[in-house]
Symmetry: C3
Subunit: 336 residues, 3 copies
């Protein structure tokens, strides 16, 4: 598996354009980002039914501004801000700013404030090893995540690329093979929406094991996540499991380099049904009103990537969700 | 006529600020744009009547972000994004992002996706040969365009600088003296709003001839546009004609360099009345409720430009529309 | 007092990141800004009462774009645009653009148009000599300004960092020790909202004296402001007085360098009660409905700054307003 595919964590780290600063040696602004556009076939769309053709253009442009400086004492102070312009299901939006994440780093410690990354979001081994961190050219709903269950997705704090995010606090620690992360937010102070989360991970040789957990009063929000991933040169394998307040979901993922520029990835997940007791109790917050189809069952997908050079690649993916939804996508992705 | 005035196509090409990229040789972000501000006299305004003084400040700041990279195979992948802050008729808005146009170019071909330029918009010889592409410092309503008729303006796909645009697809082709362009959009999937357009142009010596056409179910949207322009050193002349679903409009345009830094431009257009049959049939979508004054008649204008150096110029213009509206504007315009 | 603290005028002048321009020697875009984040204790907040914890995160990220070019005749044409993302009282907003201020400068003269600075806002000696121009990490309401009275704050034209501002016109003049500034706006043409303002200042040795005034029909908007400030090496002292349409407010401010990196600042203001005649007449536009507590009385504060190097500092402040509101704030501030 190529380094490029491997480092494509959804929210994070690529910055390429550096503006030299005139008067302060330590301070800088970096502008980077990516563009991607392609074609999305989604069998849930039908122009005659919901006004959306089954085949549409999907696209996103992201600009990322990274500002930082370093104090005389070696503390790095910085912030990350994004602008995003997106089209999904043929609906194009104008660009919007998100809210900033601020941070202070010293040694292995980082304090984050504002639009935090979040400890569940940042657990190693949760997202797909693709440039979109999901299947296809726009992620195709991120069905592959074992923390997305019960038709209720992204029920955790995560750096928001087009919104204000959790406005929380987090501490990250890194020392050699060990990484740890705790995060906390009150969703802007509202009572009952607090989220506390943690993750720890350890890398031994080619393998990384990680554990994540979230505690909250938000319905279906208590989570325990376990992952194990191996980077075996040409091959990558990964196993993930989450208990989502009683709903288990398993995921198995494998990818392989083919020739000099291609990588192919396959995945399968299996989600348990909600327990009869919970269904009868009518526990809320799931977006599907049908009691008997809350997302349980098997989902799977396949993704193909071809490195075009210059930071660009061709990406294609097909996935079937447990809710019988099929998407097939292909397009190009380029970083700058 | 000076090169500067000549290349000031409304939507396009000037980029000046280049941010060197640190880690990818081929990828870059360019920031460019322009500012303009001045005074607008408009006899349709009256502070006592509509709350807007007849003389107001008109201003615009545009920031343009151009991102691109080149694959190993020589395909350029890129996107264009704009931020615009504007004041017209004394109403200042805060800056807004538009939506991105994505593209892939190879040889003479370019595929565009998203906030497309559009084939009618991009037909050579449609806009005025001024920095604003219209008369005065803010274009003064672009009355000079032969495709703007029947009090219904900009009824074609065009790159939107402050909105989401058409979310369409287009292909441009250039080979020597020939340029061609086809575009298609569904206005985000709504049925009955499809627009298909094409333009072709050919340059022979000092002259360029162009033909544009649009087909759509949108009322008054079928258009055929023909232009012929000559760049005769000190002089520029241009003729344009459009049939706008039965409404003809002619335009004649001439400009002349005076001395080392000045250019003066004059234009006149003549628009036919809507046919009695169409008026009786009550064909919709024209913004003027009065049946008898839909824009027919003669409009004319004069524009003066003085090159100040450093990418800045003084711009002034006066125009009379066929609807008896007078505007006189003057101000400065600078690129960066 | 350190230069750094001294030059931190709220709205103005720091720009650090310069993007070299490729094709026009004179034109450029500069990107600069600052981030700040910290903790705010405000005894007016109570999670059980108004949903806001008494201790919250306060943060702001500002990006500033400065565009300019110079004509052959030596006139500088330019514009300033800002993006701001902010969290106060635990409510995080996404980033927003403001509207642009345009300018033309030649010799000591500057013409400003659009989102103008404003002559009251720009009167020397009005804001605190801190990085936030107020107390603490986010200004803590800018109670220290003698032009903020009667529970009605910022009743003058000022460059808006997150809005459209006054859309006015202004002329600034500077010659040696003398600075002058006149500004005028109609608040986008609405009748009765005109504001005219002026300031003049003169620096003699270590001392600067300034006079500002505003004339308007907006209730409580007529103002006369007098300031005197001295920069005495290690010490800074300042005196300010304003008559706000009959409401007097005095302010006394002193700051002192301590050691190589610290500065401590203390201030006290005293605001007169609204005259009985005005109270009985029910003159409007004050935000406090209680007739007997419109802000009169004594306010005071203390602010501590520690220079961390690299354009970063630690900032902390405590202030008591005359309305018995206590805030204590501490955090970090960094420029880029």
């Amino acid at each position: 598996m190529k380094t490029e595919g491997k480092t494509m964590k959804k929210v994070l780290f690529a910055t390429t354009a550096l503006i030299a600063t005139a008067s302060m040696a330590a301070a800088e602004v970096r502008i980077s980002g990516y563009g991607r556009f392609g074609v999305d076939y989604n069998d849930a769309n039908d122009r005659a039914v919901n006004g959306v053709p089954s085949t549409t253009i999907t696209s996103r442009l992201r600009l990322q501004f990274d500002m930082s400086t370093e104090t005389d004492g070696g503390v790095v102070l910085g912030a990350r801000m994004r602008m995003q312009s997106e089209s999904r299901d043929n609906a194009a939006g104008t660009g919007v700013w998100n809210a900033a994440r601020f941070y202070a780093s010293y040694g292995g410690f980082t304090l984050g404030v504002g639009n935090i990354i979040g400890a569940i979001e940042n657990t190693p081994g949760m997202y797909l090893e693709t440039r979109t961190a999901g299947t296809g050219i726009d992620g195709a709903g991120f069905v592959s995540l074992v923390t997305n269950v019960n038709n209720e997705y992204f029920n955790w704090d995560a750096y928001s690329s087009a919104g204000a995010g959790a406005n929380g606090v987090e501490v990250l620690y890194s020392s050699g093979a060990f990484n740890g992360h705790i995060s906390y937010s009150t969703r802007n102070g509202a009572i009952g929406l607090d989220r506390a989360a943690v993750n720890v991970s350890y890398t031994f040789g080619d393998w990384t094991a990680a554990l994540g957990a979230q505690d909250t009063d938000i319905a279906w929000g208590d989570k325990v996540l376990v992952t194990l991933q191996g980077d075996l040169g040409q091959y990558g394998v990964r196993l993930a499991y989450a208990d989502n307040e009683g709903i288990s979901k398993w995921g198995l993922y494998g990818n392989m380099d083919i020739g000099a520029a291609s990588n192919i990835l396959v995945w399968v997940t299996d989600e348990d049904a909600v327990s009869a007791a919970d269904v009868l109790a009518g526990r809320g917050d799931n977006r599907d009103t049908a009691l008997l189809d809350r997302g349980e069952g098997t989902s799977y997908g396949i993704h193909y990537s071809y490195d075009l050079g210059g930071g660009a690649s061709f990406e294609a993916g097909w996935r079937e969700s447990s809710a019988d939804n099929t998407t097939v996508q292909a397009g190009v992705y380029f970083s700058f």
